[in-house]
Amino acid sequence: MNFDLSYFFKIIPVIGRALPVTLSIATLSMALGLILGTAITFILKHAYWPIKEFFKGYVSFFRGTPLMVQLFIFFYGVPQLLPFLSRINAYSASVLVMSINASAYISEVIRSSLNSVDSGQLEAATAMGMTKFQAMERIVLPQAFRIAIPPLGNTLINLIQGTALTFMLGLKDIMGISKMLAASSYRFFEAYLAVGLIYWIITKLASIANKYLERRLDYEQ
């Protein structure tokens, strides 16, 4: 068998040094995606129809096309029309596209979570003299947030794994580094297995954190 165990262990910390790139793209995209996605939910609920239709199309497009295609369209395609965008670096482009991609999924999650809080509670709160905003903030949103945590955890995991595509834009994330190591050492199996292991551990940690958060917010036990 031809598996170089010492090389395998040697490159794990080398790949690990690129972790900040991978993790920062994922968390930034998640944070921006949450803000954007929540905004889209409210736009889809309340805006006038041309705006509504635009964002319906937006959600449909970003859920209906592969992330890699979106990255390529934005990084290689769009600057053809808007030359000033050709100066955008691969990191910013990745964060931007992945935020937009995440926002399409997140808006769906937020919408269905809000719908699953029964409207009687909102009615009771406003019937007591609370403003709609107070009722949303204090009664509906905390419950919707609790319902949204598991699917939002999945979105985060998808984002983390999605960052593996950003090496295609030339980014030196953990996948990009692994590819370079593999190409220079011809040790493909070791390099890709090492990076796979790292993704697995990050994903596992993210889902543990998700479970913990879910349990902390659970008032039904």
């Binding site: 509670q121 709160a125 406003t126 019937a127 003299g129 709609k132 009664i139």
Partner: protein
Amino acid sequence: MSNNENFLEVKNLNKSYSDEAILKNFSFQLKKNEIVSIIGPSGAGKSTFLRTLNSLEPVTSGTLIFDHKTYDLSTISSYKKTEIRKNMNMVFQHYNLFNNKTIIQNITEALLIVHKYNLKAATKKALEMLDLVDLKEKANQYPHQLSGGQKQRIGIARALAADPKVILFDEPTSALDPELIGEVVNIIKKTAARQSTMIIVTHEMSLAREISDRIIFMDHGNVIEEGAPDDLFLHSNNNRLRQFLSRLK
């Protein structure tokens, strides 16, 4: 204010869903310390009427006079809605307790947020209310841990807490299992002694008869008959009312 003056009055109330009229030129008066029950078949517009009082239902037209102020219900602003709602609380058919709040927080919520009590005063008041509905031991539990009857007793405690000038009961026992109705009826009777301006929409005839000063029988968006409980239940000659009452027996 003289005791004979109308404390709450509704005039020319009209409401329709699409083309169907739910309330037709409806009018209603309530005196201070008066308990009125509204009975009638499903779809008569009883609950809809109740929900127009605190503007949970928009109306086509209608005037409300409440607590010496006059409101046009068809154009009422959010500010005016809040003004009414601060003094007019509601008990719901499906309880509508806040699932993310403990029982005591369900009661303190509006005291803190709407009525600006401090936490100590709100807690004191909430415990007093829990005592009234005999559920003090549930203070720190969550709604899902309670039975339907207990949830509705909390709903009543919550509605009473801010000392509203009127309480609206929207079919408070209709969602309950038959064996749980009694405990809620008892609590409503008990609260009637304390807070005695109430409008009750109910299918529970024994409650209506025992507790009310006046009963209104409604059908198809109109008042068909109204009067003292015994007049309606025992001496009415109105065919529709007699038919309705006989079907319940």
